[in-house]
């Protein structure tokens, strides 16, 4: 499967990265590129539970394609969210379901950010993403 263009850029950026400091700087830069959410969108309904930082995730559907938007009050997590969104946005649902996101973060050298620890933010975001897709399915079935 070919990578979306921005994901390809991310992969090049992060694989060229040596050392934790450079990686942290890069993560923060990616975080700054994340399109901001409005105050109204940072509401309890969009909040991802299970994170110690505040994270909001919104899903919008455009035909067969999905578009996610997200933000957090923590800067490094914003960077991780940006890296997630460049990989998933614009994909049809079937492709999304087949996507190996832990592998994506491994390729970026960020596998540790998906630790199974309860307080980890990114893991909770992936779960929430699956939930939103499942809810959309149920919504479809009930029509």
């Amino acid at each position: 499967m070919t990578l979306p263009a921005n994901a390809q850029i991310a992969l090049e950026d992060f694989t060229a990265c040596s050392g934790w400091e450079q990686r942290a700087r890069l993560l923060m830069q990616w975080g700054e590129r994340l399109a901001p959410l409005t105050d109204a969108e940072c509401c309890e309904g969009n909040r991802v539970s299970g994170c110690e930082s505040q994270v909001w995730l919104l899903a919008e559907r455009n035909g067969e394609h999905w578009q996610f938007r997200a933000s957090s009050d923590a800067r490094l997590l914003r960077g991780l969210l940006a890296l997630l969104l460049v990989r998933v946005n614009g994909l049809p649902k079937t492709a999304l379901e087949q996507l190996d996101l832990p592998d994506w973060f491994s390729q970026l050298g960020l596998a540790r950010q998906l630790s199974p620890s309860r307080s980890n933010g990114l893991q909770a975001v992936l779960l929430r993403m699956q939930q939103l897709l499942a809810e959309a399915d149920q919504g479809l079935a009930s029509h």
Binding site: W20, A24, E52, S53, Q54, R75, R112, S119
Partner: protein, 417 residues
Amino acid sequence: MGIAALNPSYGLDCLPMPIHSPWRADFPGILALAAEGQTYLDSAATAQKPQAMLDALLGYYAGGAANVHRAQHLPGERATRAFEATREKVARWLHAADAQQIIFTRSATEAFNLLAYGLEQQFQAGDEIVISALEHHANLLPWQQLALRRQLKLVVLPLDRDGLIDLTQAAQLIGPRTRLLAVSQLSNVLGCWQPVNQLLSLAQMQGALTVVDGSQGVVHGRHDLQALGCDFYIGSSHKLYGPDGVGLLYGRPEALQQLAPWQFGGEMLLHTDYHNASFRPAPLGFEAGTPPIASVIALGGSLDYLASLDSQAVGNHETALHAELMAGLQQRSGLRLLGVPTVALASFVVDGVHSADLAHLLTEQGIAVRAGHHCAMPLLQSLGVQGAIRVSLGLYNDTSDLQLFFSALDQALELLQ
């Protein structure tokens, strides 16, 4: 590494002597983590274990396992003797009059739940349970849920500006309806000894039962529970350099008699037919099912080891290292301590820096500290912070650990500020 980092030409006037832990080599875990590039400063969450504990654990399993308090065969007798020997050691550690006052649970949290269920019949609607604003979830949720089950009032003692339970307000809030007081001896977030003696007196004047959460306190000092005079005292093996899977519940004999059994099965009974049963008194009546035999025996190894140390020397080491931690934290600009930590640990936030970001970058540099709400969400909310970083010390930590921490902290802040 710590010594090499210090330039001897500075002389003693300029730089304090590095603090070494003479016990560090007794803890294979801290050495293994250091060899892996990990600086472990999270002992308030769980402590590393001494070789003596590993030996006891392996010795029990390798020598032949058996269940306790059941069979009369030799392996069963040997396991039972070793298991009960730990009860004696815990009693000595806590200065309890009798080993039969020590109940083994599966965790400190389970010990609190045992009390909340075992004492439930003692409460009537409208009675008051008093806790403090700094309690760990383990000493909050069992009482909160008991209050909801029985229509009791949960009274929360506020803190003063230094993070101590406010005694003036406590004197107002502990009253004739108070049936039980449950407070922490040493906060896992604020790192200061609480005025437990005064609080116990206030509760005892009202005839209330008293529970002290010693999960942190029991690790950082020898306490005489007979002198303290509380009805119940709770501790956790895995924080006390022992294995996980064991909680400790001490009770005064009169208080233990008020407890009703809460879990049923195994050998906790005296007699049963299909329809009725009678139960053993404490401790066995509260140890339903096969207990964590190996862990209890291994805790005996930890306690033997701890008892062999010069407790004065351990205390001095912990005090000096904590002072070094505090001095370093106070030098960092924009860093705000939670409360006034005096022992074992310190929690802090940095102005304009998200604690999750700081935790992320400390982790990247191999610094193992805790970040988040520390199982005390309401406390952090009341302090107006969402999360904090906590550095906590064990008797194996030394100056080299703190130097690595501070250097990582400075690097992280340089990136984030």
